[in-house]
Subunit: 418 residues, 2 copies
């Protein structure tokens, strides 16, 4: 009899992680001879540990199809990393107990680096604990930091959002610069790697001569050099846009966002890197500023998702199921770039042992010599990833996203304390 | 011989103010027997005072048409309010000198409340200083605070952006709430009126049961009541979204965001209510939070503009020219709502004497009884304004916005010191 599958979403969600879920579930439904039901973990792996399973077979085909254009994690996500088998055998035994109780033979985990590690550990259950399960990691992370795969589903849409928003806001500040705002600062995600910050550089191109100064986490913050760069841009353009990564930091490692400035009332100023950067420019150069912090908006912005990203997210989910059906275990489908211009890609395969706990950094040659911009090589890498629009349907002026029923699977086991 | 026209953009720019410019210029071009060239003021009224005029006849029809889908102010804007005729006769004499030198008989000013006042003063030049000019104010403001007109071009698109972003981020935080973030705070514009904050309430509807708590500038901040409201939402939903207006303030009038700096008009410079609110929730209730500040992104977001808003912005520009051609002076075209369901509107006309320096506040019956939400009446008012999508063209994954040549008109006069 066909084994059931477990699917879960892990870590920070994205605009397209549900497109991967859609790819997994639709493909599984096409192979009902080999895969029974797809049970989703409510809130990621926690759903497996606590036997809190969602029966996705209760969802209509239309609802599952709508996942493709719905941002966020439809089944709930979690930040929870399994310890090693040696350190916490109890959790692995529980997983097997739940898998057995619900006849689960496939494990699809949709997440980033930490999740790949969890998936890798589950993939070892066959060998180390004698329970047959095929574990496939479906890549997802806005941080774009998974190894082997050319890029990560989720990143392209954030990149598009940041590129578009930076261009739009730059047009705005350019309009205001004569008598008002000269500096616009936007803070973006990416604590360890500057991939998302780099996307801000796409605001400018041959037809859009926009001054953009980027503060990367890869480059130690040099305040004097930064002031000189901003001043040079304002001298030339009368305005300047600054894209600051949340991970931008001083030479001593302190994040810019941690700077202990105080407001007019003597309270410690609460806030991120953007207000800190904006205020230091004002203090040194006197320019009036505006600042924005994109935060969750950037990774939830399904309304401006990259079509390439949506297609790849779906393809990774689909390929994950197909690989499992072909007998694979302990692998991750990956995106392989086969051509830059025109952009072409195909589905590859990465062993989880080479994915788990490896962080891909941005290559040094992607950052311009002065440390404040992107190179042509970086642009060549990024531009294909934001190609195409894939608008969700609208109703009454609002995007029509789906909220699933998420009906639980009846429990068969005793409760489990996390 | 046909008189030339002067057109300028004033105050904070929007996603659709260029659509109004498009309406003015395209309509003027259709009436070249009565209107000669359209000269745009570089950086608003400052362009008129300093004889810094842009010859829009040098722009192709295609470039002018592209203004319809380009955010920001294509000719530059300014924050500059003319004093009264009595207090600064010199500026008015200069305006007449420039108008005479360039044979300007039409004055189109595209802005909000302060600009309506400037336009009104210019409209009096005929009567008070004997120079024949027809002055028409083309309404624009994201703050939606002009009187008489049912709504202001620029507002609908910000409202759509905030409604969509709040919905998307709410889906995100809902996914994360089990083990991580439970509170998402988004800060929006609207110093005096809560129109934009109200739009955050549209994130929720019959099919999207999302807990949204709104902090309006119209409602004195009651911290204890706010904590109780947020706690009740989290108890029920496990998460909560908070939309805070930059104008939200304590009972003593202090803004939640107050930084102690002031802008060119002496208004307190805002930005930072979101981190303040997020941190106070954390301190009192212990919930993990994320916060975003939309700032310029919200009013520049042409990529998610409301079609209704774009259409109305264009129509106001067009109607302004048509009214001038019909002999009107000292007026503003206005949007008249003739039906709610289905939504229908037509172009009306408002005398500038009744527009200048009048601020339309949000009706008390638009705010729910507890002060943290919107009523059905408010929803009925808002929903039509965000109807329809009007996507810009894309190239290489990015919106293709136009930057005009903005060639100057040769100067004929001596320089003028502002």
């Amino acid at each position: 009899m066909a084994k059931n599958a477990f699917y879960a979403q892990s870590g920070g969600v994205t605009a397209v992680i549900n497109a991967s879920a859609c790819g997994v579930i639709e493909t599984a439904r096409q192979h009902s001879d080999k895969i029974g039901k797809v049970y989703a973990g409510r809130n990621g792996i926690i759903g497996a540990l606590t036997e809190d399973l969602i029966d996705t077979s209760k969802e209509s085909d239309a609802a599952i199809a709508a996942l493709r254009h719905t941002p966020s994690g439809a089944f709930g996500s979690c930040r929870f990393k399994l310890k090693s088998l040696e350190d916490n055998k109890r959790e692995y035994e529980r997983l097997i107990e739940v898998f057995k109780a619900h006849d689960i033979g496939y494990f699809f985990y949709n997440g980033g680096g930490d999740s790949a590690d969890t998936c890798y550990k589950v993939s070892q259950l066959s060998e180390k604990m004698g329970y047959p399960v095929q574990a496939v990691h479906v890549p997802k992370t806005v941080d774009n930091d998974l190894p082997i795969t050319d890029n990560c589903p989720g990143f392209g849409s954030v990149a598009k959002y940041i590129a578009v928003s930076t261009r739009e806001a730059s047009y705005d500040v350019r309009s205001m610069a004569k008598t008002s705002t000269k500096i616009f600062v936007i803070e973006v995600m990416g604590r360890h790697a500057g991939w998302i910050a780099a996307a801000g550089g796409l605001a400018a191109d041959a037809e859009n001569d926009i001054p953009v100064v980027i503060l990367f986490p890869e480059v130690e913050f040099d305040q004097a050099k930064f002031f000189a760069e901003v001043k040079a841009k304002v001298d030339k353009y009368d305005y300047c846009s600054v894209v600051v990564s949340e991970g931008a930091h001083w030479p001593d490692g302190r994040f810019l966002a941690e700077q202990g400035t105080r407001d007019a009332f003597g309270h410690a100023q609460l806030g991120g890197a953007a207000p800190v950067v904006a205020n230091m420019i004002k203090d040194e150069l006197g320019y009036k500023f505006h600042w924005a912090v994109a935060d969750y908006m950037q990774r939830a912005a399904r309304h401006i998702a990259s079509k390439t990203d949506v297609d790849q997210a779906y393809a990774m989910g689909k390929a994950g199921v197909e690989m499992a059906l072909a007998g694979d275990n302990s692998i991750m489908p990956a995106i392989v770039r086969t051509s830059n211009n025109p952009y072409a890609w195909e589905v590859g395969k990465a062993p989880l042992s080479e994915v788990a706990n490896v962080e891909k950094m941005m290559p040094a040659e992607f950052i311009s010599e002065n440390g404040f911009g992107i190179t042509e090589a970086c642009r060549e890498y990024l531009v294909p990833l934001i190609q195409g629009e894939d608008y969700p349907p609208y109703e009454n002026g609002m995007p029509k996203y789906v909220t699933l029923k998420n009906e639980g699977v009846p429990r068969k086991l005793d409760p489990f304390e996390l």
